[in-house]
C-alpha cells in the first residue's frame, strides 16, 4: 500500500506543533466565515494570499484546506438558524434545517450536520488519499492536447450545469476569460489588453476576485430592498440529538458522502450540485417523504454530508491535474502558482511532503472541526448576532486591506470598485459569478496548453481530434454543452406532436 505509507509520512508532517496550530487556525477561520453570510472560502483565501505568502507552502495549504472544510461545517449553522445559507453548498439545508429549528430541534439539526460533515469529511479524505495516486498515474498519460480538452470540459460544466440558464453561465465564463487575458502573455511577452497601462501588466486576478465577492456582495446587499432576513432562532448549549435521530441520520450521512465525493471530483462546479442530488435521493428513499420541507432530519443529514465529501473530491483534480472545479479551488491554484508550484502529477513526486502533509492535516482538521462544532455550537451561533452594517463594514475593511496592502496602488482600488459594480450588475441580472472566477484563472492555463499542443504538432490543429483521450474529452464537452438544449427541443417537439 503505497498511499498508506505516504499518508503515514504525511501525518509525521501534519502532527508537528506548528502545523497543528495552522490547522487549528484554518478550521477556526473556516467555521467563522462559513457562518458569516457574505464572506466565503474563495474570498477569504484571496484575502489571505498576501499574508500567507510569508509562510512556507505546507503551512499555507494546511490553513487553506482547513478553511475550506471548516466553511462547510459553519455554513450549516446559518442555514439552520436564520434560513440564509452561509455558503452555496448549504442552500438545501435551509429547507428542512430551518424548519427543524423552528420546531425547537435546532440542536439536533446542528448535530446531524456536524457529525455528518465529520463522517463525510473522513470518507472523502480517505478516498482522496487512496484515489489521488491512481489519478496521478492516469494524468501522466496526459499531454498538452489532453489538458486543453479537459479544461474545456471544466469550462462547459462549470458554466452550464449550475444555474438556471446555460447561456448566462457561458457569458459569465467569457467575461472571466476576457479578464484573464489582461496582462503580459507568458510565452511571448506581448502585452495584451493593457492599453499602455503599467498597472495592468501583471494581470488583475486577485483584485477581480475580491471585487466580485466582497465589493460586489456588499453592493448587492446594500442595494437590495428585500434583504431583511429571517429572525434568528436562539440556541443555547451544545448540539446533540436523540437515539431516534441518530438512527435516521446515519444512512443519509453515508449516502451523502458517497454522492458528494465523485461529483466534487468531476469538473461540475464544486459543492452545490451534490447537495441537491442528495436531498432528492433522501426524499425518494424516505418512508415519510411528506415530512420533507417540514423538518425531516434526513434532508439535513444527507446534503450536509455531501457538501463536505464534495470538498475532498474537489481536491482530487486540483492536486493531481492542476484543474480547479470550483471558485475556491481556482484561488488555491493561484496560491500554488505564487509559490512557483504547479499542481499536477509531478506534485506528488516533487512536493510529496506538501501533498501528503496537506491530506493528513485534513483528517486532523476534520476531527478538530467536530470538537469545535458540537459542544461549542451555541458559542458560534452568537456570530449571527453581528449586525449587518458592521459585518459588511468589516468585510470592506478587509477587502481594501487585501488589495491595497500589497501594492498600494490607487489604480487597483478603482478596479476594485469597477469590478464590484460588474458583480452587482451580474447578480441583479441573474448571471452566476463562479464561472467568471474559473474562466479568469483557468483560461490562461488552457491557452498555455493549447499553444504547447500546437507547437508540438507544428501548427496542426487536428492534434485535438487524432489523440483519442483529447478527442473523447472534447466530445464530452460538446455533449454537456449541447445535450440539455437538444433534450429540451426533443421534448418540446414531442409535446407539440402529442398536443
Amino acid at each position: 500500500m503505497d498511499a498508506l505509507a505516504s499518508l503515514a509520512q504525511g501525518f509525521s508532517i501534519a502532527l508537528t506543533p506548528m502545523n497543528l496550530l495552522w490547522s487549528l487556525v484554518g478550521v477556526t477561520m473556516g467555521t467563522m466565515i462559513g457562518i458569516l453570510p457574505g464572506i466565503g472560502p474563495a474570498l477569504t483565501i484571496a484575502l489571505l494570499l498576501p499574508v500567507t505568502h510569508k509562510l512556507d507552502p505546507t503551512a499555507a495549504f494546511v490553513i487553506f484546506g482547513g478553511l475550506y472544510y471548516g466553511a462547510m461545517y459553519g455554513s450549516s449553522t446559518t442555514s439552520i438558524l436564520i434560513k440564509t445559507p452561509g455558503e452555496t453548498g448549504s442552500i438545501v439545508t435551509t429547507i428542512d434545517g430551518h424548519e427543524m429549528a423552528r420546531r425547537g430541534r435546532a440542536p439536533a439539526a446542528l448535530a446531524t450536520a456536524a457529525i455528518g460533515s465529520f463522517v463525510a469529511g473522513t470518507v472523502g479524505t480517505l478516498a482522496l488519499a487512496l484515489l489521488a495516486p491512481e489519478v496521478v498515474k492516469l494524468a501522466l498519460l496526459f499531454g498538452p492536447a489532453e489538458y486543453f480538452a479537459l479544461m474545456c470540459v471544466a469550462f462547459v460544466a462549470v458554466s452550464s450545469l449550475l444555474g438556471a440558464s446555460a447561456l448566462r453561465g457561458l457569458i459569465s465564463l467569457f467575461i472571466g476569460l476576457s479578464l484573464g487575458l489582461v496582462g503580459i502573455d507568458q510565452q511571448t511577452g506581448a502585452a495584451r489588453f493593457t492599453f499602455g497601462s503599467m498597472d495592468l501588466l501583471d494581470g488583475i486576478s486577485i483584485v477581480v476576485v475580491v471585487g466580485l465577492f466582497a465589493v460586489g456582495e456588499a453592493l448587492f446587499h446594500a442595494s437590495n430592498t428585500r434583504d431583511e432576513g429571517e429572525a434568528i432562532v436562539p440556541l443555547q448549549g451544545p448540539a446533540r440529538m436523540t437515539g431516534e435521530e441518530w438512527r435516521r441520520s446515519w444512512k443519509p450521512w453515508l449516502r451523502g458522502s458517497i454522492i458528494g465525493f465523485p461529483l466534487g471530483a468531476l469538473p461540475a462546479g464544486g459543492t452545490e450540485l451534490p447537495t441537491f442530488i442528495s436531498y432528492q435521493l433522501e426524499k425518494k428513499l424516505s418512508d415519510r417523504p411528506e415530512e420533507f420541507g417540514r423538518g425531516a432530519i434526513e434532508g439535513v443529514a444527507g446534503p450536509e454530508a455531501a457538501n463536505n465529501s464534495a470538498v475532498a473530491g474537489v481536491l482530487v483534480p486540483l492536486l493531481t491535474l492542476g484543474l480547479p472545479t470550483s471558485a475556491t479551488a481556482a484561488i488555491m491554484l493561484t496560491a500554488f502558482h505564487q509559490y512557483g508550484i504547479q499542481p499536477g502529477p509531478l506534485l506528488f513526486s516533487q512536493n510529496a511532503g506538501l501533498v501528503w502533509g496537506l491530506i493528513a492535516s485534513l483528517f486532523i482538521g476534520n476531527a478538530m472541526l467536530l470538537v469545535l462544532n458540537l459542544p461549542l455550537a451555541g458559542l458560534w451561533a452568537r456570530l449571527l448576532y453581528i449586525p449587518q452594517p458592521w459585518l459588511y463594514g468589516g468585510i470592506m475593511v478587509f477587502a481594501v486591506l487585501g488589495v491595497y496592502g500589497v501594492n498600494r496602488s490607487p489604480f487597483e482600488l478603482g478596479v476594485l470598485g469597477a469590478v464590484g459594480l460588474l458583480g452587482l450588475t451580474m447578480s441583479r441580472l441573474g448571471f452566476p459569478v463562479a464561472p467568471v472566477i474559473v474562466g479568469m484563472i483557468l483560461g490562461p492555463m488552457a491557452e498555455v496548453q493549447f499553444r504547447r499542443a500546437v507547437q508540438i504538432s507544428q501548427g496542426d490543429l487536428s492534434v485535438f481530434l487524432t489523440r483519442p483521450i483529447a478527442a473523447s474529452l472534447l466530445a464530452v464537452a460538446v455533449a454537456v454543452l449541447l445535450g440539455p438544449p437538444l433534450m429540451d427541443a426533443i421534448k418540446a417537439r414531442r409535446r407539440v406532436a402529442r398536443g
Binding site: 467575461i175 476576457s178 511571448t188 463594514g393 470592506m396 460588474l422 441580472l429 441573474g430 483560461g443 499553444r451
Partner: protein, 184 residues
C-alpha cells in the same frame, strides 16, 4: 477594458433604477438587454484591439493573438444571442436574480466609502481611511448608531494596522495626521 466595463455598469444601474413595476410585468428584460448591448460593444472594441497583438513568424496558429480573438469574438456572439432571446422571446431564466427594486443610495454609499478610503489613505493613513469607509458602509446598511460605528471602525482598523504592520510586515500607510495634529 476595465474602464469600459465599469462605465457599462453605471449605465446598467441607471436602467435598473428606472425600471418601473409596469415594465417588470411586461416580460421584456430590458436591463439584461442593455447589459448585453454593452458587452457586445466592449467585445467589438476588444476584438479590434486584439488584432494589434504582435505575432512572430515562429508562432503557430496566430500565437498570442488567437485566444484574445476567439474569446472576445465568443463573448460578442453569446451576448448577441442573449440579446436576441431577451428582446424577442420569453425571459431567459436567471440565477437567483434579486426581486425587490434597487435601493440606489445603499450602493452609492458603499462606493463612496471605497472612494473616500482611496482619497484618505495616503494622507490621513490607513486607520482613518478604513474607519471612514467602515462608517459609510455601515450607513449603507442602515446603521443609525454613528457613535458605535466610529468607535468600532477605528478599533477594527487600528487592530488590523497593528497586527499587519508590526506582526506580518505589511507596509500600510501610517498617515501624516499625527504630525499635523502636533504641529497645530
Amino acid at each position: 477594458m476595465i474602464g469600459r466595463i465599469g462605465e457599462g455598469n453605471d449605465n446598467g444601474g441607471d436602467a435598473l433604477r428606472s425600471r418601473s413595476k409596469e415594465e417588470a410585468l411586461v416580460r421584456r428584460d430590458w436591463p439584461t438587454a442593455l447589459f448585453c448591448a454593452l458587452l457586445i460593444a466592449a467585445s467589438v472594441a476588444l476584438f479590434t484591439t486584439a488584432q494589434g497583438i504582435p505575432v512572430r513568424p515562429v508562432d503557430p496558429v496566430l500565437g498570442p493573438r488567437l485566444f484574445p480573438l476567439a474569446i472576445t469574438g465568443g463573448l460578442g456572439l453569446l451576448a448577441s444571442l442573449l440579446l436576441l432571446r431577451t428582446v424577442t422571446g420569453p425571459a431567459e431564466p436567471a440565477t437567483d436574480a434579486a426581486e425587490g427594486p434597487l435601493r440606489w443610495t445603499g450602493a452609492a454609499l458603499v462606493l463612496a466609502g471605497l472612494l473616500l478610503f482611496g482619497l484618505l489613505v495616503e494622507t490621513a493613513g490607513y486607520i482613518v481611511g478604513a474607519a471612514a469607509m467602515f462608517i459609510l458602509v455601515a450607513r449603507a446598511f442602515g446603521s443609525r448608531r454613528l457613535g458605535y460605528d466610529i468607535a468600532i471602525g477605528l478599533a477594527l482598523a487600528g487592530a488590523i494596522f497593528v497586527v499587519f504592520t508590526l506582526g506580518l510586515g505589511l507596509k500600510l500607510p501610517a498617515g501624516n495626521l499625527p504630525q499635523l495634529l502636533l504641529r497645530s
